[in-house]
């Protein structure tokens, strides 16, 4: 265990991530992305730039996509944080968005992927039946260096279909 050697003031915070409350003691300057990864060991959230441009670190705060590298962890008390680890079903099944990315080959190295998954999850919740243009716009704030985005856009459209089918199924 790392000894607590920092002379910095620490703050006791409760971070609620994917429905689980974690009590942590953190310096005020600790980024949410770092707290998730290094203090809670939730390494699914990735850091691609640390300056808010790439979107790899995107998590949902009370459902809204936010760049975890631009938020301090101590600001997040009382907020529901959802990370990529929390997107699937409790039985380990993939969410419609995750499923669509697999079907459409929407990822290569997978480093940008968590940020796309969280972004699209929120996007489709707000707009469950996006047009092609809207599907492109939904992912227009995230960088991917591998896929050339072609299959990511397909995955957004496919996810809308999968989610739509699931909703129709439930309604029956």
């Amino acid at each position: 265990m790392s000894p607590d050697t920092s002379t910095e003031e620490r703050h006791e915070v409760v971070l609620t991530v994917n429905g689980v409350a974690h009590e942590v003691s953190l310096p005020a300057r600790r980024l949410l992305s770092d707290a998730l990864r290094h203090d809670l060991g939730l390494t699914g959230t990735h850091v691609g730039c640390e300056h808010g441009v790439c979107g790899a670190c995107t998590v949902l705060l009370d459902g809204a996509p936010v760049r975890a590298c631009l938020v301090l962890a101590v600001q997040c008390e009382g907020v529901e944080v959802t990370t990529v680890e929390g997107l699937g079903g409790p039985d380990g099944s993939l969410s419609p968005v995750q499923q669509a990315f697999a079907e459409c080959h929407g990822l290569q190295c997978g480093f940008c992927t968590p940020g796309f998954l969280t972004t699209v999850t929120a996007g489709l919740r707000d707009n469950p039946t996006p047009t092609h243009e809207e599907a492109r716009e939904m992912v227009a704030g995230n960088l991917c260096r591998c896929t050339g985005y072609q299959n990511i856009v397909k995955a957004v459209e496919r996810a809308a279909v999968i989610a739509g089918d699931a909703t129709a199924e439930e309604a029956r």
């Binding site: 265990m1 790392s2 000894p3 050697t5 920092s6 002379t7 310096p27 300057r29 600790r30 990864r37 290094h38 060991g41 939730l42 390494t43 699914g44 959230t45 990735h46 850091v47 691609g48 730039c49 640390e50 300056h51 441009v53 790439c54 790899a56 990370t83 990529v84 680890e85 997107l87 380990g92 993939l94 995750q98 990315f101 697999a102 079907e103 080959h105 990822l107 290569q108 190295c109 997978g110 480093f111 940008c112 992927t113 968590p114 092609h132 492109r136 992912v139 227009a140 995230n142 960088l143 991917c144 260096r145 591998c146 896929t147 050339g148 985005y149 072609q150 299959n151 990511i152 856009v153």
Partner: protein, 801 residues
């Protein structure tokens, strides 16, 4: 019958982990296990002498465990005081210089590592870095190719003219080029420039190391394209035996070339610190560090002289270019050698001479970036083809067709030496068929009408195309190990690494096909030196060709043993056996045996550990008259093999694009993008198309947006994703039309060629071609932004030449 998986778009097995956030990238390794973190003090100056470094007070920062400068290195491991290795020596590279792990006496680019700090976390390590005081004496920097050529200032005082190497290759006899040039009915000359860009994978560099004092072993996790390379150099530099070092490549968040260079200073300093401090140590590069302290590529100035006949046939081609390799040259001459050879593309000039100089500048060093010099070569050749067509008033496709190597001319010897030291001999291809396909795909013949329609609406459009040939699958070799376990599951290992290419899937397809097992039962591990100690690495679109072939061969060997044991057990002839879904059966009978049982039988046991293993114990099997393991046999159900081809295999392709340029704002819009691609037989077309998509996006970035903006003092002004314009979805074409041609390679058992770099190679060329076509004047400098185009229009209209 199971259907063959080769050629099918099988969904990737990698995705299940990655989609759930369960990937293991290097920064995810050893989280919270007492791991210490690194920050590096980097030079703020492009060229300076270090007069003094004051680290007093740094260790007073609580949580700081070490601060090292160059002077500390020799005491930690004697070899650490030497410069980093020059990885690829070449006889022409007479002035090779590489950096030290930490700067010794002088710094030669902004970003060069000067001091190394280890602390409890990265925040504290950065605090500590901020306390280090360095006294620099500034020296004049050399920035840009023109300054390097002028050589008024020198990067390294002992390297005259800033020239590391000068290399000439000539396909003709002495005087032949001059004679052919003089005799050619027409002559043209062109001057072209390409600016710097970089790989910029979403995950930067990173290394984690753990020293185990109980076993005297080092484990290194590195985000690398070559785990065996890292292993060898860590052992050599730290003074360890190779057998004491394991290198594991975890998930890698993109490489595109930059991670083939090794060792990075941190790749040595991290294990060194892990051993010295007795704690795991981690370095994770941040984005700014990636811009200023990893590597760039592409920057060249080119001069072309060409002589041709009335049909545009190349009679004499002379190319001279100047390649900016930055402050050091650890990767040797690979990039300019590739430019100089692959420039030829699908064409056969009567005589060709190329000369290049590789020049030092006080900027980040240059190592291969996807395409590795080919985009520049393709640009030079394709701009030349367009210039010839314009001069002769011919269609651009006609001039190209007149110069193609014909399908019946393979193997075709280009009479040059390629990047692997072997002859540049093309194995197969069909360029005329490919040209027909690309013309159909983009609508080449219909374009004039489209242009008119658009013009009627006041809109301006242009069409361009570019052709390339890409040597892929360079040697020396790759190997593979296939192990069938007693569970019937198949464990496969190959030594090269993966950065998102879906190797676990594509390679499992090959094994499933060859061995007759279910795809789900095959598990592939890459880049782990504990599993495969002999390997080269992932670069030059070689993984599928090299490891794919090796895996195929290793699976074949395993299969031979399977059949031998099964034939004995089933008392049948091997010829009558077939394997389907992991069950070996005698054709036309019900007799069968599963692979797991064969694995049990393959390993004569003394001790049973479960019901099935009883089958193999000494009182159950074997002929008491013979040794349990025959003399020429081994226990276990395994196959191992290596693949080492004579020379590279040559993939090819053609891209075409239709662009619209705004007559007022000079905005450049992509209306249609088409790719025809020949990488021989396809293993997984879904993955190949994904590679093309990604390559095209990088190509669009390189052609229209990305450049490294250095000021005259050698500061990189756009070292962030805010300022370096990497394409978002909004910048890439909405849809890429792709068509494949499959001319199998005769050089490997699967008939495959590499595909990884193809998408990016012709981009600068194809956009320059289309924008020229739209604008009606030649484009000679890439990338081109709307403001560049706007300026160009003004200059050309203000002072018509």
């Amino acid at each position: 019958m199971t259907t063959k998986l080769m050629g099918q778009g099988v969904q990737r097995v990698e995705d299940q982990r990655l989609l759930r956030g369960q990937g293991r990238f290097v920064d995810d390794v050893l989280v919270g296990q007492g791991t210490l973190h690194v920050a590096v003090l980097r030079s703020p100056h492009a060229h300076a002498r270090i007069r003094d470094i004051d680290v007093s007070g740094v260790l007073d920062v609580e949580g700081v465990h070490a601060v090292w400068t160059y002077d500390d290195l020799a005491g930690l491991a004697p070899n650490m005081a030497d410069p980093l290795p020059l990885l690829i020596p070449h006889p022409a590279l007479t002035q090779g210089r590489t950096q030290y792990a930490l700067a010794k006496d002088e710094v030669n680019y902004v970003g060069e590592a000067v001091a190394f700090v280890v602390a409890e976390d990265r925040y504290l390590a950065e605090d500590a870095v901020g306390r280090i005081q360095v006294d620099y004496e500034l020296l004049p920097p050399v920035v840009g190719i023109e300054a390097a050529r002028a050589a008024d200032q020198l990067v390294h005082p002992d390297v005259p003219g800033n020239v590391a190497a000068r290399l000439v290759q000539d396909t003709g006899a002495p005087g032949e080029l001059e004679a052919a040039m003089a005799a050619a009915p027409h002559r043209l000359s062109l001057d072209l420039t390409v600016e710097r860009s970089a790989c910029t994978p979403l995950e930067g560099r990173g290394t984690v190391a753990r020293w185990d004092p109980d076993t005297n072993r080092m484990t290194v996790w590195s985000s690398t394209q070559t785990s065996t390379g890292v292993r060898a150099v860590v052992a050599a530099k730290l003074g360890l035996d190779l057998g004491q070092v394991d290198v594991v490549t975890p998930d890698v968040g993109g490489g595109f070339g930059v991670k083939i260079n090794h060792p990075w200073p941190e790749e040595l300093l991290v294990p060194l610190a892990a051993r010295a401090l007795g704690r795991p140590v981690k370095f994770t590069e941040d984005r700014r560090e990636h811009f200023i302290s990893s590597a760039h590529e592409r920057g060249q100035l080119q001069h072309i002289e060409v002589g041709f006949d009335d049909d545009g046939r190349l009679q004499a081609l002379e190319v001279t270019f100047w390649h900016d390799h930055g402050a050091y040259i650890p990767y040797g001459l690979i990039v300019p050698i590739i430019t100089s050879t692959q420039l030829l593309g699908p064409y056969k000039p009567r005589v060709y001479r190329v000369t290049f100089e590789s020049l030092y500048t006080n900027t980040v060093m240059v190592t291969p970036y996807r395409g590795a010099g080919r985009p520049q070569g393709c640009y030079a050749m394709e701009r030349t083809m367009d210039a010839i067509a314009a001069y002769l008033g011919k269609d651009r496709t006609e001039v190209r067709a007149a110069n193609f190597i014909q399908p019946d001319e393979f193997p075709y010897d280009q009479r040059m030496t390629f990047q692997d030291g072997r002859e540049l001999e093309y194995d197969s291809g069909d360029y005329p068929a490919m040209l027909e396909k690309i013309k159909a795909l983009i609508g080449w013949e219909e374009f004039p009408r489209f242009r008119e329609e658009m013009a009627a609406q006041g809109r301006q459009v242009g069409i361009g195309l570019a052709c390339y040939v890409e040597g892929t699958g360079v040697g020396p070799y790759e190997g593979a190990h296939v192990h069938i376990e007693t569970s019937g599951k198949v464990k496969v290992a190959t030594g090269l690494t993966s950065q998102g290419q879906g190797h676990q899937t594509a390679f499992a397809q090959l094994v499933a096909d060859e061995l007759g097992v279910r795809f789900e039962d095959v598990e592939v591990v890459t880049g782990d030196t504990r599993r495969m100690a002999y390997a080269v690495g992932t670069f030059a679109s070689r993984a599928a060709v090299m490891s794919g072939s090796a895996i195929h061969l290793a699976a074949k060997r395993a299969k031979e043993k399977v059949l031998r044991i099964a034939a004995e057990a089933l008392e049948a002839s091997e010829d009558d056996l077939e394997i389907v879904d992991g069950i070996v059966s005698v054709r036309g009978t019900t007799a069968h045996i599963d692979l797991g049982t064969i694995a049990v039988l393959s390993n004569p046991l003394r001790y049973a550990f479960d019901e099935r293993s009883k089958l193999a114990t000494q009182f159950s099997v074997g002929d008491p008259g013979k040794p349990p393991v025959a003399e020429d046999d081994e226990p276990g159900l395994e196959g191992k093999d290596f693949y080492s081809p004579e020379r590279s295999t040559f993939a090819s392709g053609m891209h075409a694009v239709i662009v619209e340029t705004d007559p007022r704002t000079a905005e450049i819009k992509i209306l249609k993008y088409a790719v025809v691609h020949d990488c021989g037989n396809l293993i997984n077309p879904m993955i190949v198309e994904g590679q093309i998509h990604g390559g095209v996006a990088q190509g669009v970035g390189g052609a229209l947006y990305e450049r490294m903006v250095y000021d005259e003092s050698g500061q990189l002004l756009n070292a962030s994703f805010m300022d370096f314009l990497m394409p978002y979805v909004t910048e890439v074409p909405d849809g890429i039309a792709i068509d494949h041609l499959e001319t199998p390679s005769p050089l490997n058992p699967l008939g495959i060629k590499g595909a990884g770099e193809a998408g990016v190679i012709p981009s600068a060329a194809v956009f320059a071609s289309a924008i020229s076509d739209a604008e009606g004047f030649p484009i000679t400098a890439m990338p081109i932004s709307p403001s560049d185009l706007f300026q160009l229009r003004r200059t050309l209209t203000e002072e018509p030449s």
